[in-house]
């Protein structure tokens, strides 16, 4: 039986810098390889094959081929990264930074603009 067994630890912590941080002012850099959020990095390369949406376990991703739209519902996404792994064109990436918090449900939508027609051969 001993009293004040934690005192050394307490004294040490009081002398050191706190382990917590003042969050919005001081942000943490996530480690390499962290699964933060799925983003459509290169919309121009996307062929809207829809494999990402089919492989998504929570059906968070919707791909509309006709409208050339790629959509993600971040509240459904569980950050497994399957979509990034299966993407044949490497259009999708997993970013390390988390998506910012938001207050209203919304679906993030990316629409591919019609690409300029290739110049006519002379």
């Amino acid at each position: 039986m001993a009293h004040l067994t934690i005192s050394k630890l307490l004294a040490k912590s009081a002398a050191k810098k706190p382990a917590t941080r003042r969050y919005p002012a001081e942000k943490r850099t996530p480690p390499k390889g962290a699964r933060g959020r799925v983003t459509m990095k290169q919309l121009e390369t996307c062929v809207f094959c829809g494999v990402c949406g089919k492989k998504c376990p929570t059906r968070a991703i919707a791909v509309k081929r006709a409208e050339k739209t790629w959509e993600i519902d971040r509240l459904k996404c569980i950050l497994c990264g399957e979509c990034v792994e299966v993407c044949p064109k490497d259009s999708l990436t997993m970013e390390e930074e988390h998506a910012a918090a938001f207050v209203a449900k919304r679906i993030e939508s990316h629409v591919q603009r019609p690409q300029p027609a290739p110049p006519d051969p002379p």
Binding site: G53, R59, A62, K64, E71
Partner: protein, 147 residues
Amino acid sequence: MMIETQPLEPLDRAALPARVAALAKEGWRLVQICCSCRDAYEVTYSFDREGRFLNLRIGFSKEDPALPSITESYFGAFAYENEMQDLFGLRLDGLKLNFHGNFYRLAKKNPFLDPPAAGSPGASPAASPSAPSAEGAPRAAPDPRPT
């Protein structure tokens, strides 16, 4: 890879209490009770003694959903038995701590009793969203996968 040998001992419903009492005397630990129901009920009682695994399996028809309780030998079985009662609509005779269907607060009575989906077993509801559900019971909404 390790695959455990898992002996499965078919047993008659009436013989269950005596068999379980004998196991309790021998010092087996009740690991779990698992009920499943497709065309008929199938209840598996698993026991363990120093790493050895033993299963007793009881099968009976849907017409007579009753089982003798084993809470006499293993009081801890009340949790599993109440679960079976709530999810599968079984009647447990002699259950020592009976919640009378209120062990789980469920939106629907005996939700595990239905076959999984209409048509072929394991048919994906996403694949056939308009398929009529079995027994007219409202099924959970199909995955809202955009088409």
